[in-house]
Amino acid sequence: MIANKTVSAFFCISMLAAAGVQAGGDPARGQELAEDCAVCHGEQGLGDDTFPAIAGMGESAMAEALAGFKSGEKEGDFMPDSVAELSEQDMADVAAYYATLPAPAN
């Protein structure tokens, strides 16, 4: 179906030119920071009737959301204050940690 030679050439070029993989957050450090998050979202990040589950969220999506709360682009009753003191790396670490937790079943 697909010419093997062409594929090989394509990927040789690709591998040679591969850029560095994007640096993700540190889940271990994120776990330490997440103690504050657990007050509302629960130890396992599963939330409750008021606070949403955040376990298993996409790392990039969660980092994006946290940055939005911090910048003021996103509003919320609690989150803007909760992330006010977090650095960009802090938010990346927290996002990396929650991405490792199992998401709740639907």
Partner: protein, 603 residues
């Protein structure tokens, strides 16, 4: 005349109130025999507080009170014209605007030498004191003219109302009978089941009416907290249908210009739609990290979906922009299939709106305003399909404009991504129309879902919905109120161009596309790109549509994630990446993808 005077005189004698309703047993009896909080300690005549047989003022029959003769500031009502400035309503306000003492009567001057009135310094307080600002009350002293008031419906012709309309106008006495409290609070008809309100208000459209709406027929009672607890028991129903209009509205002392019970529209909805009455907890959906930001629009900046022209109004979103609470009714989920039971029939048919979106305005595929949307995407287009604006402008979106993402075709108005009449459009997801030519080279389309390659259509809500909704295979709240997934997606989709996440494990695209086919490279080297290199789908594909190439190919020419700027450019200084169709399941790329050069790379 002599008979009338005799009758009134008899009423003014202490305790002689039997001839006029049951007024002696009501709070309008301010005499020593009155049952209410406000009562005289020394005046035993019941009627004297309003009527006098002699030297009355002309505002009302034998009227014994002075008043300003006018009414205070009222809410703005489109199309309503004023009747006489005060009229019959002004006499009620002589107590109920709180500016004139209950015992401040015309006859006081004449009778001062005979007896003193201990209510001469007592003013009405509490919820019965409407104040002089009547902008939060049902308007009065307005002409009752069928069709003149745009409140999302029409008015019953005057002859059919069956309520007093003094001089052809709505006044306090149109709803209230001050002498008879058998239907509290002094109503001609009960407010329960909307009986009183629908005496005048006709709420219906081409494909909807109030009578069949969930708010009119639901027999659900509060499961937990009672959202109607602040109402007096005699004014409160036991179910949603009994409360009817009063679920959301207050004819007096409302908090918003629309007569709502809460200061923000969504808070009114959340009183019941937090699982305390309605099953779904939409308040919780609004706490999710990705949501339609209804909390960002103060209700006073929102005219109500039926009054606004989305082509010109300020960009915003409120509950009423997508739902008409006078029309909305329970219905099957608005999805083209449920991923947990793909061949089941427990869903409506794309692209038609279901009952939840009944009676909502929309923008059609040609960009024209519609009073009632027929198709789901027409509701979405009100914000996501208006030329010159992008509802996602400040948020990360696969077809973003203002965010740190740039698409090769430079088209960000989503209507232009689905409009088959757009001459530049090359490929698109089948939201408004299916183009079989689009699907001929998409071997990954699953065969175990009820979507025909030749004619199947999908809803926006198949992708954009709550992460616990039927669109995600769940049983939670339906629709795109909120989601744990970015862009309010039902399932995970990766917006980071270099995420490394393998969408095969429950990803959004796999609802319709078979992972085995995709990563088996049936049509393209997906496995090498997505699985091996961790590149997300959106680098090459624009999921809404493309004016660049077939197969939704519309390169993400620039993006920024986690501090990295990632570009897909052409070669030799060209900004345009190039894909050449060389046959069925074959193509050639001439581009620089994030630093990786494809100079004639064939597959």
């Amino acid at each position: 005349m002599r008979r009338v005077v005799a009758l009134i005189s008899s009423l003014l004698v202490g305790g002689s109130a039997h001839a006029v309703g049951n007024i002696a047993e009501t709070v309008h009896n301010l005499s020593v025999t009155g049952p209410g909080q406000f009562k005289s300690l020394n005046e035993d005549r019941i009627c004297i507080f309003c009527h006098t047989p002699h030297s009355a003022v002309p505002e009302a029959p034998l009227w014994n009170r002075r008043s300003s003769g006018s009414i205070g500031d009222q809410r703005r009502l489109t199309g309503a014209s004023s009747a006489q400035p005060g009229g019959p309503s002004a006499v009620c306000l002589s107590c109920h605007d709180g500016t004139i003492a209950l015992g401040d009567m015309v006859s006081n001057l004449r009778e001062a030498a005979v007896r003193d009135n201990d209510l001469r310094g007592t003013f009405l307080t509490g919820r019965s004191n409407l104040g002089t600002d009547l902008s939060n009350d049902h308007p009065v002293a307005i002409r009752y003219e069928s069709g003149s008031i745009a409140i999302g419906g029409n008015l019953v012709p005057p002859a059919g109302v069956g309520l007093p309309l003094p001089d052809g106008a709505v006044h306090c006495t149109s709803c209230h009978d001050p002498h008879d409290d058998s239907t509290p609070p002094f109503l001609h008809r009960p407010s329960l089941n909307g009986v009183l309100c629908t005496s005048c208000h006709v709420l219906s459209g081409v494909n909807w009416n109030w009578e069949s709406s969930s708010h009119a027929i639901s027999d659900v009672s509060p499961r937990s907290a009672d959202p109607w607890s602040e109402r007096k028991p005699e004014w409160r129903g036991r179910t949603v249908s009994e409360n009817a209009c009063m679920n959301c509205h207050m004819p007096h002392n409302a908090v918003t210009g629309n007569g709502l019970v809460n200061d923000q529209e969504e808070k009114t909805c959340f009183r019941c739609h937090d699982s305390s009455v309605a099953q779904d907890n939409l308040r919780a959906e609004q706490m999710k990290f990705f949501r339609h930001p209804v909390e960002q629009t103060p209700s006073l900046d929102h005219e109500g979906g039926h009054l606004e022209n989305p082509l010109s109004t300020r960009l915003h979103v409120e509950c009423g922009d997508c739902h008409n609470p006078h029309a909305s009714r329970d219905d099957l989920p608005m999805i083209s299939f449920n991923p947990t039971n793909p061949m089941g029939t427990d869903h409506s048919t794309a692209p038609f709106v279901n009952g939840s979106l009944a009676g909502v305005t929309g923008i059609d595929i040609n960009g024209a305003l519609k009073n009632e949307a027929d198709y789901e995407y027409e509701v979405c287009f009100k914000c996501h399909g208006v030329p010159g604006r992008s509802a996602c402008e400040s948020r990360r979106c696969s077809t973003a404009e203002q965010y740190r993402m740039t698409r090769q075709d430079g088209i960000y108005n989503l209507r232009d991504k689905f409009d088959p009449g757009n001459p530049t459009l090359v490929s698109y997801h089948p939201v408004a129309i299916n183009d079989p030519a689009n699907n001929g080279e998409v071997p990954s389309l699953r065969n175990d879902i009820p979507l025909s390659r030749g004619s199947g259509l999908i809803y926006c809500g198949d992708c954009h919905s709550s992460d616990v909704s039927p669109a995600a295979g769940g049983i939670g709240p339906r629709g795109p109120h909120g989601s744990r997934n970015e862009a309010i997606l039902a399932l995970r989709y990766e917006f980071n161009p270099k995420s490394g996440f393998n969408l095969a494990s429950g990803g959004l695209c796999m609802k319709c596309h078979d992972a085995g086919s995709l990563y088996g490279n049936d049509s393209f080297l997906h496995r090498q790109h997505v699985v091996d290199r961790g590149l997300s789908c959106l680098n090459c594909h624009d999921p809404h549509g493309s004016a660049s190439y077939p197969h939704l190919i519309n390169f993400l020419t620039s993006s920024s994630a986690s501090g990295q700027t990632l570009e897909i450019t052409g070669l030799g200084g060209s900004s345009d990446p190039t894909w050449v169709d060389t046959g069925r399941y074959r193509g050639t790329c001439y581009l620089n993808c994030h630093g990786t050069v494809h100079d004639g790379a064939e597959y």
